[in-house]
């Protein structure tokens, strides 16, 4: 029940983000979208204002790129561990220098992005699946349900927390970037 409540709470926050673009506690992705020309992506306060989004003793991130984050947040390390699953995908994109318009195009009205847009940078699905072939207990990028062609957005959400879609039925504890 506790878990269910926390899921509901999380959903409520996500839905809140979707509808309350001006809510300063839950920074809206739209802000990042409009701010990205002038705001540094590591400047949390630019969008989140006074909300506490980093752990207490965290170093200043204002001028950091994703590469800088990875100096501490290495994959496989106990602490602080990788950032996978801790920050939304579009933060990783923004910190890596990917602008909103590179996915959404130059528009004021951001529309959902076709999957081929993801593949244009991340490569062919079959090649991607090869990269995770050794992940246990199952390759997350190849399944009976979708072959290698699962829609990226089934798991890798950009503007809300990513989900372990497989884990809804199977005991696969994947950490999803």
């Amino acid at each position: 029940m506790k878990r269910f409540l926390s899921v509901m709470l999380f959903l409520a926050v996500v839905i809140g983000v979707g509808f309350c673009a001006s809510n300063s506690d839950a920074a809206a992705w739209r802000k990042l979208a409009t701010a990205n020309a002038t705001t540094k992506p590591g400047d949390c306060a630019a969008c989140h204002k006074n909300a506490k989004v980093l752990p207490g003793q965290h170093v200043a991130t204002k001028s950091m790129s994703y590469k800088d984050c990875q100096a501490c947040h290495t994959q496989g390390s106990e602490s602080p561990g990788s950032l996978y699953g801790k920050i939304p995908g579009h933060h990783i994109h923004a910190l890596s220098g990917v602008q909103c318009s590179q996915c959404h195009g130059n528009t004021k009205h951001y529309a959902p992005v076709a999957m081929n847009k993801c593949l244009s940078c991340h490569g062919d699905t079959k090649e991607l699946a090869k990269k995770t072939a050794d992940v246990k207990p199952h390759n997350p990028h190849e399944s009976r349900h979708y072959g290698t062609e699962a829609d990226c957005n089934l798991c890798h959400h950009q503007h809300e927390k990513s989900v372990n879609h497989c884990g809804e039925c199977h005991p696969f504890r994947f950490v999803v970037p």
Partner: protein, 561 residues
């Protein structure tokens, strides 16, 4: 078809009449609001606006409405206008099938074998289906009275809310259709077999009349009907069917007088292709279990259950509704099973059953296929466990179902490594332990609660009467001799099997009960075949058998137009 013709020239049968009255259609709510304001027939009907045309009542038509017109339904968004400039290609076929599943693939192949050029548009990257068994009645070796008794039994299972003519159509045509599916899948190397009467011990004799079965078995797991449909799709390709994968259909193309002319689908680049159909579009997009808003509206009982399928978002419902079709009214039939946690033939055996806390909750003669009704809350969410002790092979030897001996149960135990056969390894959930406390931990329940439940159960066994739930005494056997076994089952949504109103040709009807030219609906998107609270398990493989049969018949019918 000699039996059960649904002749549209006659007065509608009571099922059709009821769905026309209670179901959801554009015509239906407009008619009611018109009656309230100015009498029938005075409103102009935007229903049949062609795609690309500006909707007549744009503001009111942003979403579909409930049958009384009072509620706006967010899950029925009006198709957006697509300009011709956005269409990168237009392709023309005789028949366009939307959805490559257990009904769509047979429909496509059947149409091709009857001379049509056929396209299949599929959202997923390949054909998909679930389950193993598809059943049909072999007319040879069956008494006609037996077939009629079977029809009556299925109608009873459906709480008498189905269309008997459609059940009858399945009964009289399914033997031929299932045999055809087996033959055509084999042609592409499928290991499918005809199991005949093996799974039908309970339905070989109906009211003293004989029945004989044709039973396609695509298995054992992990091979399923999904693999079977992929094999059948290879046969279909050889027969000339063109498959377009990763290509979700977005909306139907209609003429101004309402005839369905084709489908617009979107590829991964976000570009549109228009598929025109000279003879007809066959929608076979399946159910809507992954569309939360639709489930909450039509079948709120499934709210807390997991889903077995993915991507079943009810696209076909939206398309058919805006083309003027009628969705069966609220109270859709659901199918929730778990054949994977432990052996399937033991799923209905009336062992002690406990809920997620370890508490006995039901008379265990209630079958697995309806147990979901006792486990609807967010905490239980379909979880329960069957509990028995090491005497089960002797104590349950005469019970209905089939026992799997201890050695065989190991195949269903996730904690035992080593190769498993005939199962999905990530879904097995059977456990054994020397104490009940240890078993409870493995079943993820409170040890003290399970111990107390077993203690109480054993007291009732000694008493010789089930004072708590009234289970027959012959099924009350003690749980006392270690090791103890537990099968942790989790019923999840396999399918929702209510859909669009159709006639005997599986042609969609509009809110006035008239056929929509060019639009056919099969599979779980088709209505009229069920109607009860739950999908019945009297005939194993009814669902796939029905899907194959109606796909087979409809493909042939549309090809011959």
């Amino acid at each position: 078809m000699k039996n059960g013709d649904l002749n549209e020239n006659k007065k509608p049968d009571q099922y059709t009449e009821s769905v026309l009255e209670q179901g959801l259609s554009r015509r239906n709510f407009l008619r009611r609001s018109a009656m309230g304001v100015a009498g029938t027939g005075l409103l102009s009907l935007p229903t049949f606006a062609s795609v690309g045309a500006k909707p007549v009542q744009e503001k009111e038509d942003a979403f579909g409405k409930s049958s009384d017109g009072a509620a706006t339904l967010s899950f029925l968004p009006h198709p957006k206008a697509i300009a011709d400039s956005e269409i990168k290609a237009t392709l023309t076929f005789d028949v366009v099938v939307v959805g490559a599943g257990a009904s769509g693939v047979p429909a496509a192949l059947s149409a091709a074998e009857n001379g049509a050029t056929v396209a299949v548009i599929q959202k997923a990257p390949f054909a998909l289906s679930q389950g193993n068994t598809g059943s049909g009645v072999a007319l040879a070796g069956s008494d006609k009275a037996g077939i009629e008794a079977l029809v009556a039994k299925v109608c009873e299972d459906n709480a008498h809310r189905c269309h008997p003519g459609l059940v009858r159509q399945w009964a009289y045509n399914s033997g031929e259709a299932v045999r055809w599916v087996i033959d055509r899948a084999k042609q592409s190397g499928s290991p499918v077999i005809d199991q005949g009467n093996v799974q039908h011990g309970d339905v070989l004799n109906m009211n003293g009349y004989k029945l004989n079965w044709v039973t396609s078995f695509f298995g054992p797991k992990p091979y399923t009907a999904g693999d079977g449909m992929r094999h059948l799709a290879i046969t279909a390709e050889k027969a000339g069917v063109k498959f377009f994968y990763n290509m979700p259909a977005e909306q139907l193309v209609q003429s101004k007088n309402g005839e369905v002319l084709g489908v617009v689908a979107k590829d991964r680049d976000g570009k549109y292709t228009k598929f025109l159909a000279r003879k007809g579009v066959i929608l076979a997009t399946g159910d809507y279990q992954n569309n939360k808003a639709m489930c909450d509206y039509f079948v709120p009982d499934v709210k807390n259950f997991g889903r077995k399928q993915m991507g079943k978002t009810g696209d076909g419902f939206v398309m058919a509704y805006w083309a003027g079709g009628v969705i069966e009214p609220i109270g859709h039939t659901k199918m929730l099973h778990d054949f994977d946690g432990g052996p399937a033939p033991m799923c209905d055996m009336p062992f002690l059953a406990v809920d997620r806390d370890g508490k006995r909750f039901v008379n265990e003669t209630v079958e697995m296929s309806v147990l979901n009704n006792y486990l609807r809350d967010a905490h239980n969410a379909g979880h329960y466990a069957q509990i028995f002790d090491s005497n089960y092979m002797t104590q349950a030897a005469t019970w209905p179902g089939k026992l799997v001996p201890p050695e065989g149960l190991k195949n269903y135990m996730p904690e035992l490594s080593g190769p498993k056969k005939g199962v999905f390894e990530s879904l097995v959930n059977t456990h054994v332990a020397d104490t009940l406390e240890e078993l409870a931990k493995k079943l993820e329940m409170e040890p003290a609660t399970l111990v107390a439940s077993v203690k109480r159960y054993n007291e009732l066994v000694v008493l010789g009467k089930d004072d708590d739930f009234g289970k027959p005494a012959k099924f009350m056997v003690p749980v006392e001799k270690a090791p103890f076994y537990g099968i942790h089952r989790t019923v999840r949504v396999s399918a929702i099997c209510s859909g669009m109103l159709v006639n005997e040709n599986h042609q969609a009807l509009n809110g006035e009960g008239k056929t929509i030219k060019g639009l056919y609906v099969v599979g779980n998107l088709g209505g009229g075949f069920y109607g009860g609270v739950d999908y019945p398990l009297t005939v194993y493989g009814l669902s796939l058998g029905r899907c194959y049969t109606f796909g087979y018949l409809t493909g042939r019918h549309v090809a011959k137009l």
